[in-house]
């Protein structure tokens, strides 16, 4: 994995760190709502329901412990969004961070986009480890000196200081979305980005915050004719003119911005026919796509619906090239999952650095990895019980039949309140970040 050319896929995962409160009672504001590595993997950002963003930075590798890659420690914390109130519609706008996307680094500072339901913000995260000292007209504390006391001139110099990380909002992109924003995606041109809500997709320039172009609009003339909504959208990693968006009907549309200003007409439509034998009351719900991600190569894309992960070849629209069942044992439990609202959970998915493995979350704090090359899959658990440093994670198994083997867990014993919706994979190394309800687990590949 990760380009090492190993002959087998027997990667063993070790616990590295866990961030967050240990309390069993979870504060609503502490629920993690998004996780994202930056392009180098050095920084890891999380957003939560309270509108806060916490950024972790990887420590440089220690020469004393070459077996261990650097740990992630808190780098910066800031309040990105506050709750707002729309007086016209008498609606409260949640401060929950729906998505964070890093911009490619161009200079010393880091930039990221964070969004809640209505407003996107561009944040600059910069370091300050020096401060100027020796002003002629100001005291050290900032007060102006009495000019009459100035008798000599000196040149101010930069003196080292304790590292301070500042996060400042550089742009606020507001009032462009009537419906709830579900996705943002930075274009490979590093100048534009898209934001998608339930019915529309807008194209922005990162420098211009008072204007955006609407490039997709699926709102029907009569809202009573509404049959589907947009659930996710992403720019192609290499082609700056191409983006995809998924729908609640299980379809993915690929659009080319060169074809028309308004991309309502798709260039490609990816759709797999429904299996009539599996028809149930909840067919529409479980076929709704909750996440779509391009592979790093740009050749494939992956979609996540309630029960499965599908890998699509962009050159073939009729069906996915690979389908992985995440937790098919839930198919007989859909009615209960509908009653307790779990069926509406939106799971995300991610690729590893070389697109050979895909990962997604499940219930009971389980998460699943599917090796595309070796056709193997593994179920692992993020729990405090397995949180001894460098302890190897043991594969877990859910028993679906009548006989439950030792160490297997029965479907009825799964805790549906413990769900892993957000996962992220380091772009270069085998380091993964897995978010449970209010904790962030970091696992690393066991290095011999």
């Amino acid at each position: 994995m990760a380009g090492t050319g190993d002959g087998s896929s027997d990667v063993q995962w070790c616990f590295s760190q866990v961030k967050g409160a240990i309390d069993d009672e979870v504060a609503e504001a502490d629920v993690i709502s998004t996780v994202e590595f930056n392009h180098s993997g050095e920084l890891l950002a999380t957003g939560d329901k309270g509108g806060r963003v916490v950024i972790f930075q990887q420590e440089p590798e220690s020469k004393n412990q070459p077996q261990c890659r650097g740990e992630y420690n808190v780098y910066s914390t800031f309040q990105s969004h506050e709750p707002e109130f729309d007086y016209l519609k008498s609606l409260e706008i949640e401060e929950k961070i729906n998505k964070i996307r890093w911009l490619p680094q161009k200079n010393a500072a880091q930039f990221l986009l964070s969004t809640n339901d209505k407003t996107i913000k561009l944040w600059k995260i910069s370091e300050r480890d020096k401060r100027p000292e020796g002003y002629n007209l100001k005291e050290e504390d900032g007060r102006y000196r009495d000019f009459n006391t100035v008798t000599t001139l000196r040149v101010p110099v930069f003196m080292p200081m304790d590292l301070m990380v500042e996060a400042s909002p550089r742009r606020v992109f507001a009032n462009a979305h009537t419906y709830h924003i579900n996705s943002i995606s930075v274009n490979s041109d590093c100048e534009t980005y898209l934001s998608a809500d339930d019915l529309r997709i807008n194209l922005w320039n990162l420098e211009i915050n008072d204007r955006s172009f609407n490039i997709v609009d699926i709102k029907p003339a009569n809202m009573e004719e509404l049959t589907e909504v947009i659930t996710a959208a992403e720019f192609h990693p290499n082609q700056c003119n191409t983006f995809v968006y998924s729908s609640s009907k299980g379809t993915i549309r690929l659009c080319d911005m060169r074809a028309a200003a308004l991309c309502d007409q798709h260039t490609k439509l990816f759709e797999e026919p429904e299996d009539p034998n599996n028809r149930s009351f909840f067919s529409e719900i479980i076929s709704s796509i909750s996440d779509v991600k391009f592979s790093h190569s740009g050749r494939y894309m992956m979609t996540r619906d309630y029960l499965s992960v599908k890998v699509w070849d962009l050159n073939m629209e009729t069906r996915p090239v690979e389908t992985y069942q995440v937790h098919d044992y839930l198919r007989s439990k859909l009615c209960s999952l509908y009653e307790n609202d779990c069926i509406f959970d939106k799971f995300e998915c991610c690729w590893n650095g070389n697109d050979s493995v895909v990962m997604t979350g499940s219930y009971n704090n389980f998460f699943r990895m599917f090796d595309r090359g070796y056709r193997q899959d593994v179920t692992l658990e993020a729990s405090r019980e397995n949180s001894k440093p460098r302890s190897v994670l043991k594969p877990r198994k859910v028993s679906t039949g009548g006989k439950r083997k030792k160490d297997e867990i029965s479907v009825d014993c799964l805790d549906f309140n413990k769900k892993i919706l957000h996962t992220a994979w380091h772009p270069l190394d085998n380091i993964i970040a897995v978010a449970t309800t209010n904790n962030l687990y970091i696992f690393q590949e066991k290095l011999n």
Binding site: L91, H180, M223, E224, E225, L226, F281, E284
Partner: protein, 298 residues
């Protein structure tokens, strides 16, 4: 085809749960979630399809039973009994009851057996047209409330009234709710509803077969009185949270009335001020066939 494992009873509970979710979503923080409500409406639609399919099947079975009973009665005509007059009316009204295209109101859930169903039907339909003739013989004359358009039309099969050619008569559909005994007539898309609960009482003093039916109706009378008014049922549905936890919420007659509410789209649920007559005048029953799935969210 929905998996046949889900029967009408499951469909009913799904409808209840879905309606509750939609209701609760109105007060959720962050506003109405369009995506979630759209998915819930799909479940609602699927459950309704199964629910109505089951009701159609019941009605069909009942109709078959009626035809069998009719044949039996014709045989019994060789024995002069007083059931003659009633049965002739029964046949006509049974046809009227089953003719309605918008069978959803007609198909209010009745979990009793088909036999009982047929008996209730016969009792209901016999009570209706007999309201007037029985009045004379009844010890306690009751005013006849039954005013179905069907009564005024020719005695030919009510199905013919569907034809666009029957311009001599207004375009009517008459549906009998077998549970609540509410007769609903859609005339050119306008809704008339009649409560025949009083008409039922007319039949109390009838002969022994009618008395037998009366006993079996005893359990339903309270329901009829409780849900005799379409407006009352709709207002009940409009009440705040507590109404949805009322044990009677899962009552099947509530369900059928709520289904007819949704015929006018979710604006029917969201709007608090709409008058019942306004909703009726929006071709509630006529649009039931075009089941709306969207949420008028913004």
């Amino acid at each position: 085809m929905i998996n046949t494992m889900e029967c009408a009873a499951d469909a009913q509970s799904l409808i209840s749960i879905s309606l509750m979710k939609i209701h609760n979503s109105r007060t959720q923080r962050g506003g109405i979630k369009l995506h979630k409500n759209l998915l819930v409406s799909y479940v609602l639609r699927n459950a309704r399809q199964v629910y109505i399919k089951e009701k159609y099947a019941e009605i069909y079975r009942m109709q078959q039973y009626e035809e069998v009973m009719t044949v039996c009665n014709e045989i019994q005509e060789l024995n002069p009994l007083d059931l003659d007059a009633e049965d002739a009316e029964d046949e006509e009204q049974a046809r009227a009851a089953c003719c309605g295209e918008e069978a959803s109101l007609c198909g209010a859930a009745c979990h009793r057996g088909a036999a009982q169903l047929a008996v209730h039907t016969r009792a209901a339909v016999s009570a209706l047209p007999d309201c007037c003739p029985l009045e004379e013989s009844s010890k306690e004359p009751e005013p006849c409330y039954y005013r179905s358009c069907c009564m005024e039309t020719s005695p030919v099969s009510q199905c013919e009234q569907f034809s666009a050619n029957s311009s001599a008569y207004c375009n009517k559909t008459t549906v009998l709710d077998l549970d609540t005994h509410v007769v609903t007539t859609v005339e050119n898309g306008y809704l008339h509803q009649d409560c025949c609960c009083d008409a039922l009482q007319c039949g109390q003093s009838a002969q022994s077969p009618a008395k037998k039916r009366k006993v079996e109706f005893g359990c339903c009378v309270s329901d009829v009185e409780e849900i005799s008014d379409f407006a009352a049922a709709r207002k009940r549905a409009k009440r705040e949270d507590c109404s949805f936890f009322h044990p009677d919420y899962t009552d099947t007659s509530h369900i059928s009335n709520l289904i007819s509410i949704f015929g006018s789209g979710f604006s029917g649920l969201l709007s608090r001020q709409a008058d019942v007559e306004q909703i009726c005048s929006k071709q509630v029953l006529a649009s039931l066939g075009a089941w709306t799935r969207a949420i008028v969210a913004f």
